[in-house]
């Protein structure tokens, strides 16, 4: 689902494209050429194709059945949020953060160190592709941990994991969730780790790894980083800003919840 390379364009006279070198400096759509003042047909269609893929990533339902088959008998639990459909989910983030009553009633309290949740978020295809491989990679790295059955959640936001973990009695939750798709990447998954989560837990109490996809952060690297964070969280009994400050690798990204600001850090 990555952006296809822009086809080499030529000037009117068929001269070679002098923008080629400049394009190696940025993925921005520079040097597109013009037809009058407008973009050329090929560029218009390339843009529309990327937008269509991004929209499909948002609107295609998570194929839970396919995930169950991929798990091949490994126990898992399927839940849904209070947002009944995609349109409601997009308008009412608050509903996507809470479990539907029947899902809540279905979860039984246990003694778990961690629960992994695979939620559709804003890109079901990201979760479809990335969640189970990461879950398996974490199982291999967390020997001796009491890991709850994988929870597959639909119409879910990040905070839905808090209620799931509370209901299951898990000390921490790993929310694996599809990130808002961009034009260049539509299948990027984010992972949010929260220690001692509760309903209403602030985002500042989470640690986030984002940009997990084929051409971004590889699953194995994400798994190593996540395992480190989880060991630290278990020791320090916290996640969020306090844990980030202790990280040796300052490149660990923090939670980037999309905000109104184009200045993302203000």
């Amino acid at each position: 689902m990555t952006k296809k390379p822009l086809p080499p364009s030529k000037n009117r006279d068929g001269a070679p494209d002098v923008w080629q070198d400049l394009r190696s400096l940025t993925r921005a759509r520079i040097g597109l050429g013009r037809s009058g003042n407008a973009q050329r047909t090929t560029d218009v269609l390339t843009f529309q194709a990327a937008h269509a893929q991004a929209r499909d990533a948002v609107h295609t339902p998570l194929d839970v059945q396919a995930m169950l088959e991929e798990l091949n008998g490994i126990s898992c639990l399927c839940v849904r949020s209070r947002a009944a459909d995609r349109s409601t989910y997009l308008r009412r983030p608050d509903l996507g953060r809470r479990l539907a009553p029947e899902s809540l009633a279905f979860l039984q309290k246990g003694e778990w160190d961690v629960v992994f949740v695979a939620a559709d978020g804003l890109s079901s295809i990201a979760t479809q592709k990335g969640a189970i491989p990461l879950f398996r990679a974490m199982q291999a790295r967390l020997k001796g941990w009491r890991i709850a059955p994988l929870v597959i959640a639909t119409q879910g936001r990040v905070a839905l994991g808090d209620e799931i973990a509370s209901a299951l009695g898990a000390r921490m939750v790993v929310m694996m969730i599809g990130e808002r798709p961009g034009l260049s990447v539509a299948d990027s998954m984010g992972v949010y780790l929260t220690y001692a989560p509760y309903v209403g837990c602030p985002d500042s109490a989470r640690n986030c790894l984002s940009n997990i996809h084929q051409h971004g952060l590889p699953t194995t690297v994400a798994a190593d980083k996540l395992a480190w964070l989880m060991q630290q969280a278990m020791q320090l009994k916290l996640t969020g800003v306090g844990l980030k400050d202790a990280a040796p690798d300052s490149s660990l990204p923090e939670n980037p919840t999309p905000s109104i600001e184009k200045d993302p850090h203000a």
């Binding site: 940025t26 003042n37 999309p258 600001e261």
Partner: protein, 460 residues
């Protein structure tokens, strides 16, 4: 104080002015999310009838957010120009709409009236105005500002060149800047949203932009859209700060959510003025706003999102900004669901800001989870162009690869200038011609490859 209206045999009652304004607002998802939207179409129109009868001086006497609790309310109340308001003191909201649309409401009359209007009056009257009303009145209003060029003149449409890069790569940013200049973009500002928000990074980006600007003697201003406190530090370190940027909102609490206070803005304003870098004027502030910001910070005090947005313009106008733009559509579908809502909000924001004397531009944009596409942006840019928008934002191919959303392309703005016969800021237009980028004979930007221009060396 409650308000009421009977419509179709039913009597509708609205508990207070806040509730009345919220119910009268055109439908949008953010007001539904907040539980403030009208519960039916009929109730919405009943609210508009009642709102049209509200006397304007009620807005002067009513604190929608308490004076003691909110410094934006204090700013609005304390700076209200009662002399400018006097001719409107006995009008209702409906009367104001009729006056604004009348031929008596000339550019000069509107300019004189602006300090007499409060954001709440502007928001109220906008709610009973159709899209064409918002456009035809805004078109009459002129807000002219200056730094190294003149922004907001009649017949002009400026543009912000936004060359963002996901790792702030200087050459990547320079390549996008070069692309934009070849389309005649960048007269409002060449402005980067940094991926890494630090003083060191901000200094490096500003240094690169400033060198490029001076090398080619471009009559424009540059900006790194970092937090105001970073910009203050950059100024203290001798950085090349033309404009101070900050996102702002319509309540004290929402501004605190952005990490700013009116005092910090004042300090930054004075610091930027002291640099005296402007050549034709001293408007040194650049603000971004957008409906939904206050609600997302849980700081809306029960106001509908359009009314609380208009209050941000009172903050803006206190600092005589060069540029302000609404980032309409960036916030996502829980606040503005689809193209229709984004377009309406863009026109409202432009109208209300101009009515208050604020130099309003727009980032006509959307995210991939909104029900909108480039056709909606085409519609919005043409409507805003017809309404006399101060500037629009352009990114290469309409695709911002750092912030992951879609805006307008350089092509789009070039098309709009051509369709509506709009020119860049005059100093910038002269520079384009002098550089051989603009052909005065045909009135077109030449289609040139970088090496055919003197700008080729811009990318080191």
């Amino acid at each position: 104080m409650s308000f009421q209206c009977s419509l179709g045999g039913e009597r509708y009652v609205f508990d207070d002015l806040k509730a009345l304004m919220a119910a009268a607002s055109p439908l949008r998802s953010g007001d539904e999310l907040a539980g403030l939207a009208a519960t039916s179409d009929a109730q919405r129109i009943a609210a508009r009838y009642a709102l049209a009868d509200v006397p304007l001086d009620l807005f002067v006497r009513t604190e929608l957010i308490p004076y003691e609790a909110d410094d934006v309310t204090r700013l609005i109340m304390d700076t209200h120009d009662t002399a400018a308001f006097a001719p409107f003191a006995s009008m209702t909201v409906g009367d104001l709409r009729d006056w604004l649309l009348s031929h008596e409401a000339t550019t000069a009359a509107l300019t004189a009236a602006a300090p007499g209007f409060t954001p709440e009056m502007a928001a109220a009257v906008s709610k009973i105005m159709r899209n064409q009303d918002l456009m035809s009145v805004a078109r009459k209003m002129r807000v002219v500002t200056r730094f190294r060029n003149t922004i907001g003149l009649e017949g002009c449409l400026a543009s912000r060149l936004q060359p963002n890069h996901p790792t702030d790569d200087l050459k990547g940013i320079a390549a996008s800047t070069l692309d934009g200049l070849l389309y005649g973009m960048g007269d409002a500002v060449i402005g980067i949203n940094p991926a890494t928000d630090s003083v060191v990074n901000g200094l490096a980006l500003l240094d690169m932009l400033d060198h490029a600007r001076r090398r080619y003697d471009i009559p424009t201003q540059t900006c790194v859209l970092t937090h105001v406190t970073n910009t203050l530090e950059i100024i203290n370190k001798g950085g090349a700060v033309d404009l101070v940027f900050q996102s702002i909102a319509g309540t004290q609490k929402a501004n605190e959510g952005f990490g700013v206070t009116l005092d910090i803005l004042k300090e930054a304003h004075e610091a930027a003025l002291s640099l005296k870098r402007g050549t034709v004027g001293d408007n040194v502030m650049y603000f971004e706003t957008g409906q939904g910001a206050a609600l997302s910070a849980e700081a809306h005090h029960g106001l509908d999102q359009q009314t609380v947005e208009a209050r941000a313009y009172a903050v803006a106008r206190a600092f005589r900004p060069l540029l302000v733009n609404t980032v309409v559509g960036f916030i996502g579908p829980e606040y503005l669901y689809d193209g229709k809502q984004i377009i309406r909000a863009g026109l409202e924001d432009h109208f209300c800001a101009k009515l208050l004397g604020v130099p309003m531009g727009c980032d006509a944009c959307y995210t991939n989870h909104a029900e909108a596409d480039q056709d909606d942006m085409d519609n919005l840019m043409v409507l805003l162009g017809a309404a006399g928008i101060t500037f629009l934002i352009g990114v290469p191919g309409a695709d911002d690869i750092m912030l992951n959303y879609q805006s307008l392309s350089f092509h789009d703005i070039l098309t709009l200038r051509s369709m509506l016969n709009l020119r860049p800021a005059p100093e910038f237009a002269a520079w384009l011609e002098q550089m051989g980028l603009f052909d005065a004979q045909s009135g077109r930007m030449r289609e040139l490859a970088p090496h055919q221009t003197r700008l080729a060396q811009l990318v080191g």
